[in-house]
């Protein structure tokens, strides 16, 4: 696998699709009410700053994955447990994502299909794609990014033609000051979905251009922030902040407002498609990150652990929570408590160690 090199356009598309993932359909940053889009933009910028840290680590160790340089920097005794913790994190994130997607799907259209069947189908597809390799995953993402963007374009045009967009619903911007916006940035949008980019530290060694690569990914993050903010603004301008706030999948009712002379109507199935695509790629990236980690830490062939890991994800997602409310609540708490540790604290320590080391090693030749 080591010889695989993945092109920049593919990295851009997988990063963008990863970011859009589930975030596109949920009420992201809604803690700040109708200013959710501002909060997303700020969150995106914060996320890019955090990612700069990951990029720094990558530039210093262009051939190593996150687990690789963790072990190298912190030594085996600390590095291996930390790496394993990350693998567990990725598996957990993949499982949570799948639970998200499955439940949303059940809420939206598949009311009677058992969650287990939906999840099994999803994880099997994902395993198949990853079996073909990470390159195949990134390439496939390019195609589906196009599809998602086309659906977005179509929906926007249709909403305009239906006359459902009322920009007044976005006004006034920040009526209660910037306080709630910042709060929602801290509580939600910089971690989800932008902080989750930490898993790209596992994939970046595959970049075909190590100098430009991280910048391309940051470009994808910026694009994602813009698209997400745009989507959220669209939702609010169609439905009003109040309804959006109360909908777990606001994009769906927003799109269902499309009605062109009763011929094109209820196209919310497109949202379901976007949801499936988003969940699939997001979960697959986490899955891939976990697999790479496993194969590195335990020195196992990548494909050998594919199906066991798939099983773990499947089961974790099933026993994760009894209800979606519990699941979301848990997610919210993790977002606020556990994830920052993995996404900020540990990388920060690593950056510090790297900086100190390179500082000293640069001194010596003088």
């Amino acid at each position: 696998m080591g010889s695989v090199r993945i092109g920049l356009s593919q990295f851009f598309s997988i990063a963008l699709l990863f970011e859009l993932g589930t975030a596109l359909v949920v009420n992201l940053g809604i803690l700040s009410g109708k200013d959710a889009w501002v909060s997303i933009l700020l969150g995106g910028l914060a996320g890019i700053l955090v990612f700069l840290g990951y990029a720094y680590l990558y530039w210093k160790h262009p051939d190593l994955t996150f687990t690789g340089y963790t072990t190298k920097l912190l030594g085996k005794a600390i590095g291996v447990p930390v790496s394993i913790a990350y693998i567990v994190l990725y598996l957990n994130l993949a499982a949570r994502d799948m639970r998200d997607g499955g439940t949303m799907l059940a809420m939206a259209t598949m009311h009677h299909t058992p969650l287990f069947i939906l999840s099994t189908l999803m994880i099997l597809s994902s395993a198949y794609v990853l079996h073909k390799g990470i390159e195949v995953l990134t390439r496939t993402s390019l195609v589906f990014l196009m599809i998602v963007l086309l659906i977005g374009l179509f929906s926007t045009i249709m909403l305009m033609l239906s006359g459902s967009i009322n920009l007044n619903r976005l006004l006034p911007v920040m009526e209660t000051g910037i306080q709630p916006v910042l709060e929602s940035v801290v509580r939600q949008s910089y971690m989800f979905p932008f902080g989750e980019m930490v898993c790209f530290t596992m994939l970046m060694p595959y970049l075909s251009n190590s100098r430009k690569g991280p910048w391309v990914i940051m470009g994808a993050m910026l694009t994602a922030a813009l698209l997400l903010a745009y989507t959220m603004a669209l939702n609010i301008s169609v439905l009003g902040a109040d309804i959006v706030e109360r909908s777990p999948l606001p994009l769906m009712p927003a799109i269902s407002k499309i009605s062109i002379s009763d011929f094109i109507q209820r196209v919310d199935i497109f949202v379901v498609m976007v949801l499936i695509i988003g969940v699939f790629f997001k979960m697959s990236v986490f899955f891939a990150a976990a697999l790479i980690g496993i194969s590195e830490v335990f020195k196992l062939p990548y494909r050998k652990m594919l199906y066991p890991a798939a099983l773990i994800i499947l089961l974790t997602s099933m026993v994760d929570a009894r209800s979606f409310i519990e699941h979301l609540d848990e997610g919210g708490r993790l977002l606020y408590t556990v994830y920052p540790f993995f996404m900020i604290v540990v990388p920060a320590v690593l950056i510090l160690v790297t900086a100190v080391k390179s500082h000293f090693s640069e001194r010596r030749p003088d």
């Binding site: 598949m110 198949y128 109507q265 209820r266």
Partner: protein
């Protein structure tokens, strides 16, 4: 007119020398023993003809010409081999027997292609290929005269990949003719041919064709390597080889293109691809082949580019309809009925009243019935084929609807997918689509759009995992290459497609006096005047350049 030349004889014989027989066998010194051996080897086949002659003044040297009747060009054999031998060889018989073959070759034989074979197998293969072997008593070598010929189907319009506008000749079963068809279109010294024999029993001539400097050496080397690796008893069609040299076998998608059209082969050769011609089949393999290639038709380049783009878009659409048509219908009606317009829904609902089958079963039945019809229509003798389609399409279709077994809308959907499958220019891609259609039907029946979406992801991932001789199957879409888009979904005008040349160099430009203008722009606008002056200067500059 059948062609006689086969530039491949020489190296072909070499390949045959490596047969699994083991030790090299030589011809016997005794002519009769040699003849007996040959007869025995082919089992005293009645079509092997031995003509014994004596060369030179009596007693002369005993010689024999061995050939297979039917495979040789009789005129060639009679006039230029036998006739020449009997007339010209007289003065040569004074020389020692050992030198005779060379002398005969050099001075007697009037046939254009001849060589000396020292190996037994080589001789035998040559005879079995339609050449004539001349054996001399007391000599362990044979003279092989290229007399291949015999009856072949003459060049006619291809039966697949038809065009409204474009060349109407198609390949035939004779490889020599096929090569000539390509050569006639591509008079470039850079056209390279490499011949080999594949098939331990059939000894089929396979020719690798490429244009030096256009096709990358790596590619040619890889193809050569894979062809040499092929170990198979029989090669009756290019499909035998296709399956053995493609990158991956478990996929419905074709990764090697085949065509009956020489113009397509030439076009592809000039795009840097490699063609493999197999004797005995009019289908020529072209590789590497990517997905988009199967949606191109020779006609795209004969028609105006905007029209060609329209035709291409129609083909891609038809592929989407083919694989997703029935499944989307199933998903819409049984899962997402809210998406249908109300009036349409009422209409469908009324149709579905009293229909015994669930929509999924209905679709499955109709699709399978359609496959029956199609298969029957293809295999039937042409005269009956018409009847089959009339009975199937008209009578069966309407009867089934009238009896209330199948809903009319299902017949429409199935017919639409059927027609869509015929709109794809490459037959093998259409078959792939038809196969995948059933998978999607199943997914839609079970999971609605969820199944379809996941199916699409898996399908595209699968396509992404495919490579055709190292080229990603979905390129130039994935990996994305903007430059590659010139001739995929789009077909840009010719002057935009050729890299490195400006439009001015490629297009014929009308002289200024003939261009349509309103007549007084130059007076009105100083800018136009200035432009014109610059044009004139440029033209002057151009004319100085050597052509």
């Amino acid at each position: 007119m059948t062609a006689r030349r086969d530039s491949g004889t020489q190296s072909g014989a070499k390949a045959a020398g490596a047969r699994a027989d083991g030790a090299e066998r030589r011809l016997s010194l005794d002519l009769h023993e040699s003849l007996r051996n040959i007869q025995a080897e082919v089992g005293y086949s009645p079509d092997i003809k031995v003509r014994e002659i004596r060369l030179g003044p009596a007693p002369g040297i005993q010689a024999a010409a061995v050939h297979l009747s039917g495979l040789t060009d009789a005129q060639l054999l009679n006039e230029f081999v036998m006739g020449a031998l009997l007339q010209n060889a007289e003065e040569l018989t004074d020389n020692p027997v050992d030198e005779l073959p060379k002398l005969l070759l050099g001075r007697a034989l009037e046939v254009g292609e001849a060589a000396i074979a020292e190996d037994w197998n080589e001789t035998l293969i040559a005879v079995l290929s339609g050449d004539t072997a001349i054996l001399l008593d007391g000599c362990t070598v044979a003279i092989i005269c290229g007399t291949r010929g015999g009856e072949w189907r003459s060049v006619s319009e291809p039966t697949s990949q038809l065009v409204v506008r474009g060349p109407k000749d198609g390949f035939v079963e004779s490889i020599a003719t096929n090569i000539s068809l390509v050569r006639r279109r591509l008079r470039s010294p850079k056209l390279r041919l490499e011949s080999m024999k594949i098939g331990t029993e059939t000894q089929t001539t396979v020719v690798l064709m490429y244009v030096k400097g256009f096709a990358s050496d790596d590619l040619v080397g890889e193809v050569r390597k894979r062809l040499e690796k092929v170990a198979i008893d029989e090669v009756l069609e290019s499909g035998f080889i296709e399956e053995l040299i493609q990158d991956k076998t478990i996929t419905p998608f074709p990764t090697i293109y085949n065509t009956e059209r020489p113009d397509v082969v030439v076009g592809n050769l000039l795009e840097g691809r490699v063609a493999i011609l197999v004797d005995g089949t009019p289908f020529v393999l072209i590789l590497p082949a990517v997905f988009t290639q199967f949606f191109q038709s020779a006609e795209d380049y004969s028609q105006r580019f905007d029209i060609a783009i329209l035709m291409r878009v129609v083909r891609y659409l038809s592929f989407i309809v083919l694989i997703l048509g029935p499944s989307v219908y199933i998903a819409l009606t049984t899962y997402h009925y809210e998406m249908l317009p109300t009036t349409l829904l009422i209409n469908l609902l009324a149709q579905r009243e009293n229909v015994p089958f669930p929509a999924f079963v209905e679709a499955m039945l109709m699709e399978i019935a359609f496959e029956f019809l199609r298969e029957a229509g293809v295999r039937m003798p042409r005269v009956i084929g018409q009847t089959v389609s009339v009975v199937g399409a008209l009578i069966l279709g309407s009867a089934v609807v009238e009896a209330g077994i199948i809903t009319p809308i299902m017949v429409i959907v199935v017919a639409l997918t059927g027609i869509a499958s015929f709109a794809i220019p490459a037959y093998n891609m259409a078959i792939a689509g038809r196969l995948i259609r059933f998978a999607f039907l199943l997914l839609a029946g079970m999971f609605g759009f969820y199944g379809i979406t996941l199916g699409l992801i898996v399908m595209i991932a699968h396509m992404n995992s495919l490579r055709s001789f190292g080229i990603p199957y979905l390129s130039p879409f994935v990996p994305l290459s903007v430059r590659g888009q010139k001739d995929t979904l789009l077909r840009l005008p010719m002057w935009m497609m050729n890299p490195g040349k400006s439009p001015q160099q490629m297009r014929a430009e009308l002289p200024k006096s003939m261009q349509i203008t309103t007549g007084h722009e130059a007076v009105l606008s100083p800018a136009i005047k200035k432009n014109e002056e610059m044009d004139r200067k440029r033209e002057g500059g151009n004319s100085n350049e050597p052509e």
